[in-house]
């Protein structure tokens, strides 16, 4: 009869999981945590660096997951938020001599504000149109960073070199190992806070909006506010990841934060399972290691091999790591019964 009714009955664009299934059980969480805590003791510094990047990208994928899996908004612009976070940390450290750890909350707050403000025009868009608008942001960001106007701060095309911090209190560990544990603590903190958020009144408001905006609004949910908050939270976490990335890589440059990064993060989210937060680390592993594996199989055709591998994953497990985890859980359940 009317436009409003049509919207009400429309199915949600994103298949999502109920909240209970959004997390891992306590036992599994502890096993994963123990593995992450012990692994660096047995590997070389380069592998430790890669594991640090694994955690950093996992944070960025988690941030996108809160936005897309939680509130139902697409973004192909996460690389822009990541870049702003990275440059904030780099500039504060190199120009103001600020302690690296202190730059991270500042990067988070600046990116939260950036995401919140960007979320305002995004309110008028949804689905593929929102994806396009965020895509524009990702395309624009590297060029904005190269602008002569900001060059004094950003270093222009050259970028900025960032000093890698030493382990504090004279701890007997390498810079890489210290940074890994530092990142691990932050990642665990953000992961727990994200789960708390999605399980709370605010998180329910996000998911209510994702599932049915009109009904959410009738329940008193300020749809515009929570949609922009979701953008802010997502951008804020991505900014912290960007800051950590700058410290780990010891370098920021505009071409490190192109649309390719945004697409990688999107890929990571899909491979990990949309709306399943623990999947973020699996998605992150996919975007870091699978290109290397593809290169190992064929140097000249690494892109094609990567494409085939990606296609296989999407074809065999369309719901990503979440689906694998659920199948594994069912099999374990059967084993216990027998």
């Amino acid at each position: 009869m009317s436009a409003a009714e049509e919207v009400v009955t429309e199915a949600p664009a994103i298949e999502a999981v109920p909240k209970r299934a959004m997390t891992l059980g306590l036992g599994t969480s502890l096993v994963v945590l123990a593995a992450l805590a012990i692994a660096p003791l047995f590997v070389k510094n380069f592998i430790i660096f890669q594991m640090t990047m694994l955690l950093i990208y996992a944070l960025a994928v988690l941030a996108l997951n809160i936005l897309t899996g939680g509130s139902g908004q697409f973004s192909l612009g996460q690389s822009a938020f990541y870049a702003v976070g990275a440059y904030t940390s780099a500039i504060l450290m190199e120009h103001f001599g600020m302690n690296y750890a202190l730059t991270l909350p500042i990067a988070g707050v600046i990116c939260f504000a950036f995401g919140f403000v960007f979320g305002q025009p995004a309110l008028r868009l949804s689905g593929v149109y929102l994806a396009l608008a965020t895509f524009a942001l990702a395309v624009a960001m590297p060029q904005l960073l190269k602008l002569g106007f900001f060059e004094h701060w950003t270093g222009g095309v050259q970028g900025l070199v960032v000093t890698k911090p030493d382990a504090p209190f004279g701890l007997p560990m390498s810079q890489d190992m210290w940074l890994y544990y530092f990142t691990l603590v932050i990642a665990i903190g953000i992961y727990i806070a994200s789960i708390n958020l999605l399980r709370s009144r605010s998180g329910r408001a996000f998911m209510a909006i994702r599932d049915n905006e009109i009904a959410a609004s009738a329940m008193g949910v300020d749809v515009a506010l929570y949609k922009t908050l979701a953008f802010g939270v997502s951008a804020g976490i991505t900014g912290v990841a960007g800051g950590l990335g700058a410290i780990a890589v010891q370098f920021v440059a505009p071409d490190g934060y192109t649309i390719t990064l945004a697409i990688s993060l999107f890929l990571g989210m899909v491979v990990g399972g949309v709306g399943w937060l623990p999947g973020s680390i699996v998605g992150s592993a996919f975007i870091i290691f699978v290109p290397n594996i593809a290169e190992g199989i064929s140097k000249g055709l690494s892109g094609a091999v990567f494409g085939v591998l990606l296609f296989l994953v999407i074809f065999l497990v369309p719901h990503g790591a979440r689906q694998v985890a659920m199948v594994a859980q069912q099999m374990l359940g059967k084993l216990k019964k027998n």
Partner: protein
């Protein structure tokens, strides 16, 4: 509210004043007025396209009336955005069920408490003590409502997998969770069988009596409206056709003509 009503001492809880809605060139509602008194069950009837749902959507601020006013306890609701309607005590269900399909029954009903609770993203992320206390209180209330509507056994089930009748009850539970003063029910009997309709009628009356609510019922099912409504408003082609007790409206020649067609057709 007018001076006369103040003098009488029983101002209506909700007053619809001369409301018109025009979509393009189509007049969906044309100068409709009626009052709802506290504790009443008001039935809004009319053939398809009579404007019942349009009126409902004006009450929940999905549509802006072209003219007229809607007063809740004497104050206009038309200055409020849609998300600030629940907090003044207007709750609703939807014609075709508008639940959050991927959430559990429990979470759907928890969202219902949104207008009656407060939080911010930082406190929620840190799960501060006052947030935990609020959640405990929310859970207590939600479980009370689930028990009231006999939904405890499906509390953890995702709603998209539930039968239609159960989904309708979940929607009712979600509306009740906001402690509304007025409950707007858009065709609650749609898709239910004879026995279920009977049970529903009983339930609506119980909700009115035990939870002290006023009910506006849009319904096609004449039997249901006539058996539980205290007062009936009949609409046709966007105009008010008749108003009165169920018996009066049922006997109204215009209403009979609208439903059955006139003799000379």
């Amino acid at each position: 509210m007018t001076q006369a009503q103040l003098a009488q001492g029983h101002a209506p809880l909700l007053a619809v004043r001369d409301v018109s809605v025009v979509f393009g060139g189509i007049i969906a509602l044309n100068g409709v007025s009626f009052n709802m008194n506290k504790g009443a069950i008001l039935g809004l009837i009319g053939p398809n396209g009579a404007g019942k749902t349009t009126l409902f959507n004006c009450l929940s601020r999905l549509y802006q009336p072209s003219s007229g006013d809607i007063l809740m306890e004497g104050a206009s609701i038309l200055t409020r955005p849609a998300h600030k309607i629940a907090e003044i005590g207007i709750g609703r269900t939807f014609q075709n069920v508008a639940l959050f399909p991927n959430l559990s029954v429990l979470d759907n009903v928890r969202v219902g408490t949104h207008a009656r609770t407060s939080s911010d993203i930082i406190s929620d992320s840190l799960r501060l003590a006052w947030v935990r206390r609020g959640e405990t209180e929310t859970n207590r209330k939600v479980h009370e409502i689930l028990a009231y509507l006999d939904l405890e056994n499906v509390a953890h089930t995702v709603v998209s997998g539930l039968p239609f009748g159960t989904q309708k009850r979940v929607e009712l539970a979600r509306a009740l969770a906001a402690d509304p003063k007025i409950l707007l029910l858009d065709e609650p009997a749609g898709g239910l069988n004879h026995e279920e309709v009977y049970v529903l009628g009983d339930l609506i009356r119980r909700i009115r009596d035990e939870r002290h609510m006023t009910v506006l019922l849009v319904e096609h099912h004449m039997g249901l409206v006539m058996s539980i409504a205290d007062h009936v408003v009949a609409l046709n082609f966007g105009r008010k056709l008749a108003e009165g007790t169920p018996a009066q409206v049922q006997a109204d020649p215009d209403v009979i003509k609208a439903y059955l067609g006139s003799k000379d057709q």
